[in-house]
């Protein structure tokens, strides 16, 4: 149970680090770990006297300062006012393309997922898109997605947005927009680079020495286990409760 908590705490702290320097981050619905990471960054900046961070949580009434309806987040992204966002994918390939639609041949896909949501648009417009998918397996990380909901690189059109990093239960990758692929940055304890190779269906760059993803320091953990869980409880009560119970 406590190792499950540690796993989540590493993910949350890693997300806060990935978001460092941003002014406005949007978080999709049903994303407690990304939301917690954004709240951790906000709390840390406040503590350290750094610039404030705005957080928009889609589907939340309290963490939503928009007043112009469902279109406003999308307009805001088009204006360059959203710095970071999270996307997942039933499949993610080595070129950073994501599939939120299904496997097999469209339209009668073998497995059907909910749909593309705003991905096809936001991937073009938000500079720091963090791909977050907890399951790290060859069925998720495939050589080529069956359906491209959103494409990572499109040389034919100018764009400011695209993938910045990929975070899973096992590892953190950077996305290299020049090379058009992922590079392993660090591996979460207790996994090894060999575990990552075994569970990733696409090829990626691997440094000679692979770092271990740092565990959060005591000050970060204190913030996370205190104020962040309280902040989170409003939008994700069940998640916050589980995290508290594990303490």
């Amino acid at each position: 149970m406590s190792s499950e908590r540690e796993r989540r705490e590493i993910l949350i702290a890693t997300i806060a680090d990935l978001l460092d320097g941003i002014r406005h981050v949007a978080v999709g619905a049903s994303s407690p770990i990304p939301a917690a990471g954004a709240m951790l960054l906000r709390a840390r900046n406040e503590r350290d006297g750094k610039p404030p961070v705005r957080i928009s949580i889609l589907g939340s009434q309290a963490h939503n300062f928009f007043t112009n309806g469902g279109i406003e987040l999308f307009d805001c992204a088009a204006q360059g006012r959203v710095d970071a966002f999270f996307l997942g994918g039933g499949q993610i390939d080595g070129e950073g393309n994501i599939n939120l639609v299904g496997t097999g041949d469209y339209p009668r896909t073998d497995v059907r997922w909910p749909g593309s949501f705003g991905s096809a648009y936001l991937y073009h417009l938000i500079p720091r898109v963090i791909l977050f998918r907890e399951e790290h397996s060859p069925r998720v990380f495939v050589p080529k997605v069956d359906f491209v909901s959103a494409r990572a690189i499109t040389p034919e059109v100018p764009r400011r947005g695209g993938p910045y990093a990929l975070l899973t239960n096992m590892a953190l990758f950077d996305f290299d927009r020049e090379a058009g692929g992922f590079a392993l940055r660090s591996v979460h304890p207790p996994f090894t680079p060999a575990d990552i190779r075994d569970n990733t269906g696409f090829s990626y760059a691997e440094p000679e020495v692979v770092r271990e993803t740092p565990r959060p320091d005591p000050a970060t953990l204190a913030l996370l286990r205190g104020r962040i869980l309280d902040d989170l409880a409003e939008t994700y009560p069940a998640f916050a409760r589980t995290m508290k119970q594990a303490a």
Binding site: G70, F74, V101, P107, P114, F117, H124, S149, A238
Partner: protein
Amino acid sequence: MTEIVALEALAARVASGLTLAVPVDRSGVAMAATAALIDAGVDNLHLVCVPISGMQADLLIGAGAIATLETSAISLGEAGGAPRFGAAVRAGSLTLRDATCPAIHAGLMAAQHGVPFMPIAGIIGSDLLEVRPDWKVIDSPVGEARKVVVVPAITPDVALFHAPEADRAGNVRIGRLRELATMAYAAKRTLVTVERIVDRNLLETEDSAAGVLPSLYVDSIAVAARGAWPLALWDEYPADEAEIARYAAMARSEEGFRAYLSTFLAHRKQVA
């Protein structure tokens, strides 16, 4: 003039074969009216989800009311995937028009502005362009020389949603959920269910009028207490998560779905 009618009469304004626009779960979904539509045996609908849907779409799909589904996603949120949607996709019983959220907003805004299409950023490179031949990539005719996607206007026959209150003249309070206004501007007719009708004039002050959809855009209103249940209605009641989870579990099988549906329809009759 806006008519104030019984729920069944409002539901009867939705004929089989129409294009019906409905909002995302958090914005006020007319679930009681959805039950009435299913009860009336409406079918062959083209459902436009603005920009996604959940239990409402899944119920309509399971009941066989939908021929064409235009949406950016169907999901029950925390309760997981939408089972009847998944089953219908596997069976090939729906015509799918997969979209992305801002493209649905853009299509409605084209209709709102009375123009045939709306340009929209992004999307290029997505396979959605392959499966949506009605979306085009054009060279921008003005400004910077670049490619841009255009999507056709979406003009629903009917927009349907649920809101906290309307006044006697048919003005409806929609708060800051401007997508409800966009739906109404774009649609030929708008049907609204409300928790209550109030005696005061919602347009009376600048403050109150700012959050109001004027009756000009509203054709019919019916009172349906707890009309979004089991979904949430903003500022009024939260979602009934246990009920949605119960639906998600039961709707995994066709038989389970049928059993749920008959209880759901019966429950609605009791409330009414």
